[in-house]
């Protein structure tokens, strides 16, 4: 670990506490965008650092991972205790959920036993008041001997007070009381009593809770133990027969916002701008500068057509992530894990897998990596193989493009259906693999449900930006490079530049893959090329289509464009697919081989090339079969 920087004008503050105590909200409120996120050495746990200047002092804040205890059993616990014992911090702030003070005090008392001086921050006071929890701050200070402050993380004045405390408090004037010392002595007595293993742990925990109970009796009063707001809402949203339909309704609402009400109009405007004014301006400038025709084609068709077709959908990704971050901030996403748990368990997947799998809606990579937290090999492998079926942000442009082009009236419903297809196939695939290879019992799932609360908008926006910005970076890097390669492959063959793309290298390669989809309704070389490029990055499916067919028109008039194209027998995306073959293509794209980054992560997490190639082949085969069924059954039912 790095050495502490001690300087009169720089102070270092560490935030510690249980998960879901509003610690990250405090960190975000204090540091804003002035954050640096890395990793704790040797482990893949986020290390968040930020800074702020207040009262002429530069304050460096470190947000430690949330833990319930510091027994060094998990990487997070080890990080917290090692950090607090080894680093010389100017101040340690223990953020406590006031509404859940009894449980939170377990960590507080444990840290005090280890001789770590700290400021107790009773956060979420608003929630505590609602739940009738009244804490006597003076008594708490008197019992423990350390300063206690009160905050509501989202309240600006609370944060100001906190910063004031950071810069004005002198910890030297605080220390353990006689009563705390007595408790610590009792703990040491138990440790030296000769007890071992579970017996020793039980005796320590019993003593710790006896001390916490005495604090609760004297300093905490619960005046209203009636049904809380969270319990009332949970009785509808998380329990009983309505839980799953309500979850689907909420998810549908998110899609309606993303694809109909806010996202699509922005995408349309962006599409109009990139395909219209911007392209015209660049074309005029290139023409004026007498740039060679092939270079003009590279820029207009290859780069603007390809990268532009992905950029058009980036606002949708941001809006979707905003909605999901907002829901997460309310506490609802934890309920989703709870609702999905019985379904997952029936499929043979541990309930614990639900949380990492849910991250798959953002990106498959953290979802695959999250599986390492699972208890046994079987759960890890099943979770890793299920994650890529979910609709990650990179697949969203594919779904949005095809839905807008071929199902303009029902775009939201079709995209929503694709998300459901992903979830269902993750479950079906797990069931298949469980039946074929992994037949063990699943592990028990313990999940803490945080109280419902109004999300902090700053935190939601920061999270949205954090998750969404990567797609902008990808558009400027891997998609940009991919578009140039695709354009060259589509413009040249061994004889030089081609007149028709159908004579190009790309057509030859794409035709081989395209032939696999003859009975899927999209057995053309363009679709084959898009499928290949999608293994590089899923957005490349759309950028390749953009390079080959030009920037697609996803506006409300798209339906007319399709009809016109069909009537004229024109080439292009509208003529290359029917509604049914577009649907089959969407299903295939949803399910087939994950991108190289996800494949690399599978290799890394399983430490097995065999597993990586199995995942690539298995998912391709499953996608091929399901897509074929969709197309052929659709035809039998009379769809085109």
């Amino acid at each position: 670990m790095e050495a502490a920087i001690m300087n009169d004008n720089i102070m270092r503050v560490a935030l510690t506490g249980n998960p879901n105590t509003g610690k990250s909200t405090i960190f975000n409120e204090i540091t804003g965008a002035r954050q640096k996120i890395g990793n704790w050495p040797g482990v893949t746990v986020d290390k968040k650092e930020g800074h702020v200047t207040y009262g002429g002092k530069e304050i460096h804040v470190i947000d430690l991972p949330g833990t319930y205890s510091v027994n060094a059993r998990s990487p997070e616990e080890k990080i917290v205790i090692d950090f607090l014992q080894e680093q010389k911090m100017d101040l340690v702030v223990d953020v406590i959920d006031s509404s859940n003070i009894e449980r939170n005090l377990f960590l507080t008392v444990q840290l005090l036993e280890k001789g770590i001086p700290m400021v107790l921050d009773l956060n979420m006071q608003d929630e505590a008041k609602r739940r009738g929890v009244k804490i006597d701050i003076k008594k708490l200070e008197k019992i423990l001997g350390y300063p206690v402050i009160v905050t509501v993380a989202r309240d600006g004045s609370s944060i100001k007070n906190l910063l004031h405390v950071f810069t004005s408090i002198s910890m030297e004037s605080y220390g353990p009381t006689e009563r705390l010392n007595e408790h610590i002595a009792k703990i040491q007595e138990i440790e030296n009593s000769g007890l071992e293993g579970m017996e020793l742990q039980e005796a320590i925990i019993k003593q710790r809770y006896a001390f916490i109970d005495s604090i609760m009796d004297e300093a905490v009063e619960v005046t209203n133990a009636g049904t809380s707001f969270t319990e009332k809402v949970d009785s509808v949203l998380a329990n009983g027969v309505l839980a799953l339909p309500l979850f689907l309704a909420i998810l549908y609402g998110v899609f309606q916002i993303t694809f109909e009400w806010i996202g699509q109009p922005i995408a349309d405007a962006l599409d109009d701008f990139i395909a219209g004014d911007f392209t015209d301006w660049v074309a005029g400038a290139l023409e004026g500068a007498e740039v060679a025709d092939w270079m003009q084609a590279l820029i207009l068709d290859g780069i603007i057509g390809g990268v532009g077709s992905v950029l058009v959908f980036v606002p949708l990704i941001f809006i979707l992530f905003f909605c999901l971050s907002f829901l997460d901030g309310t506490g609802y996403m934890a309920r989703v894990a709870f609702i999905m748990d019985p379904i997952m368990r029936r499929a043979g997947l541990s309930g614990k897998s639900v949380m990492p799998l849910m991250m798959g809606f953002g990106c498959g990579v953290p979802s695959i990596m999250g599986a390492r937290a699972l208890d046994n090999e079987k759960d890890r492998i099943l979770s890793i193989l299920a994650a890529p079926f979910l609709t990650c942000g990179a697949k969203l442009p594919i779904m949005a493009l095809f839905a807008a082009m071929f199902f303009p009236e029902d775009a939201t419903n079709v995209v929503f259906a694709m998300y459901i297809v992903g979830v269902v196939m993750a479950i079906v695939s797990t069931k298949l693999l469980t039946a074929a290879k992994y037949k063990d019992e699943t592990a028990t799932f313990l999940l803490e449900l945080p109280p419902y609360r109004m999300p902090d908008m700053k935190t939601v926006l920061l999270e949205t930006w954090d998750k969404g910005k990567g797609y902008l970076v990808k558009a400027g890097t891997i998609i940009f490079a991919g578009c140039i390669i695709i354009w060259f492959l589509g413009a040249f063959n061994f004889d030089g530049m081609v007149e028709e793309q159908s004579e190009s290298f790309l057509a030859s390669i794409g035709a081989v893959v395209g032939a696999l989809f003859t009975f899927h309704g999209f057995g053309n070389w363009e679709a084959g090329a898009a499928v290949i490029s999608g293994i590089l990055a899923k957005e490349s499916v759309v950028s390749t289509i953009g390079v080959l067919y030009g920037l697609p028109d996803v506006s409300a008039e798209a339906e007319d464009a399709i009809e016109t194209a069909e009537a004229l027998g024109a080439t292009g995306m509208a003529a290359a697919f029917t509604s049914l073959s577009a649907l089959a293509f969407m299903v295939f794209s949803q399910l087939y081989t994950p991108c190289v980054t996800a494949l690399g992560t599978i290799k890394k997490e399983t430490n097995s090339w065999k597993m990586m190639f199995f995942a690539a082949g298995y998912m391709f085969a499953l996608a091929w079969v399901v897509s074929l069924i969709v197309y052929q059954v659709g035809r039998l039912l009379g769809f085109e």
């Binding site: 986020d46 999270e463 998750k467 980054t597």
Partner: protein, 49 residues
């Protein structure tokens, strides 16, 4: 002349983009997974080694 200048700029951008992808691969970074996993996960995808 303009063709050469624009070609050089595109080539430079292409090299930078490719280097970014290769560096990401080598360091195990992933652009699209963000740096913070809400929901209390410990995937630590923001620049893990």
């Amino acid at each position: 002349m303009a063709t050469y200048i624009i070609g050089a700029v595109i080539l430079a951008l292409f090299v930078m983009a490719t280097r970014h992808v290769i560096n990401n691969y080598r360091s195990g970074k992933h652009d699209c997974c963000g740096t913070d996993c809400s929901g209390g996960c410990n995937c630590g995808c923001g620049g893990h080694k």
